[in-house]
Symmetry: C2
Subunit: 265 residues, 2 copies
């Protein structure tokens, strides 16, 4: 990594450094005293203070205060950036974004650290289990849900949406299964209920509805009880063990056009 680092630079001289860095698609860090105005979907003003500003290689801008996960102000990667030095004002950074039209203005009155460097980052990022993965694993290993379950389709269109897994149980009853990787809330139960109702209307037969999650909120349990829906705790660790047998990534289109790719047997 080649980089440029300046301690307590004069603001005037920084303008060209920053412009050069942005033109060469480098990542720029600025630490110093600034104020920030934002105008777009909302409006905000941040009074002067010491912050870290990051301008990434794709034009994303983040203004970070010394605490908290979230940037206090930002602009996603779609922004156009302009840098000016205004005598008596300071170093002004404008970031403009179209659609939605949003403006971000950062005014630095002092900069302690300037860094510009081209980060080389080709490392792969893998999320080991997300809801899709969980769905695929369970669809391919339905005994993890209950014995004798036969999966007919995943992401089956029902009513307004898609139910995660559509199956038939050992007593030949139809089963709609909704999955949550995190604690299931009442919302999830209601969603499943809508699927069950829609299915009943469409196909004339009331299916079982099972909500599967590692945990359930009290209101979810109560609602499930009231709406005559089943729920089942799942151990994510156990599911993850089955993820090793690498399955082809299942695409939505595989299941929405015809039945040739349905999981049936």
């Amino acid at each position: 990594m080649s980089f440029k680092l300046l301690e307590s630079p004069r603001l005037e001289e920084l303008v060209n450094y920053i412009k050069t860095a942005l033109n060469s698609k480098s990542t720029v860090l600025l630490i110093g005293e600034c104020r920030v105005d934002y105008e777009g979907r909302a409006s905000s003003r941040l009074e002067p203070g010491e912050r870290l500003v990051i301008i990434k290689q794709d034009g994303a801008i983040l203004v970070h205060r010394p605490t908290g996960y979230s940037p206090v102000n930002w602009q996603p990667s779609t922004s156009i950036i302009e840098v000016i030095y205004k005598e008596g004002v300071g170093l002004v950074i404008h970031a403009l974004r179209d659609r939605p039209r949003e403006y971000l203005t950062i005014v630095f009155t002092r900069i302690n650290i300037f860094f510009a460097g081209k980060l080389v980052d080709a490392g792969n990022f893998t999320m080991y289990i997300d809801e899709k993965e969980m769905r695929d694993i369970l669809a391919n290993n339905p005994f993890l849900i209950e014995d004798g379950l036969r999966v007919i389709a995943v992401e089956k269109p029902v009513g307004d949406g898609f139910v995660d897994i559509y199956a038939i149980d050992k007593d030949n009853r139809h089963v709609l299964i909704e999955l949550k990787r995190v604690t299931a809330t009442r919302e999830a139960v209601i969603q499943l209920y809508k699927y069950v109702e829609a299915y009943k209307n469409e196909f004339g037969e009331k299916p079982r509805g099972i909500l599967i999650a590692p945990a359930f909120s009290p209101s979810a349990l109560e609602t499930a009880l009231n709406l005559d829906l089943e729920y089942k705790y799942i151990d994510l660790k156990k599911v993850r063990e089955y993820s090793k047998k690498k399955v082809r990534r299942t695409l939505l289109s595989d299941f929405t056009t015809g039945s040739k790719n349905d999981f049936s047997h």
Copy 2:
């Protein structure tokens, strides 16, 4: 701002610098080559590459790749941080978080830049308008919605949720108003529909349902039409003008316990 800045330090010597910085509640920046593992609600692995790691004064950790708004890995401010140097491995940073239990491990094999400094940031941050503000302004100036409207309550409990504004129109019909500060999607329409249905069931009278937003998605408009709901465009600029007459922040409790604070006249 007092700070410490090191260029291409040896990893061994960094351990104490970082520990000292964390103990003194400083913000730490590390730029260099690292890999990252995460385990918690999900699991992820990030292969080696050059990144920026931020450890904030409250223990929040962000791992940023050279592009994009979002950190690739992170830990919110509730984390406990441990720093170790492992011979033959590198500089290891562990961040543990309770509730939910989550582990983040960063392993640096090279560091180009180390920065530690106590940022002083007392600047005030003001968000000029959010949905609450919009709700309060419209509740206090209902003529912006339509002539003759009398607001009875805001955040009125209806069914499962709370409708933003509950009012009575000039013909004495009940009106449920749902607000969106951004483009309203079908979801917003469905939400309003649920309120209208729930209200009908609870109070026996079918109210008007009005969705108010600066813009509407086509599916939102279509759904509104199908569900017999009204929609109204609102100019945020115009609403914002009425925000100058500073209103006391309206609390939910003002409207849910008794009627003494209701907006009625």
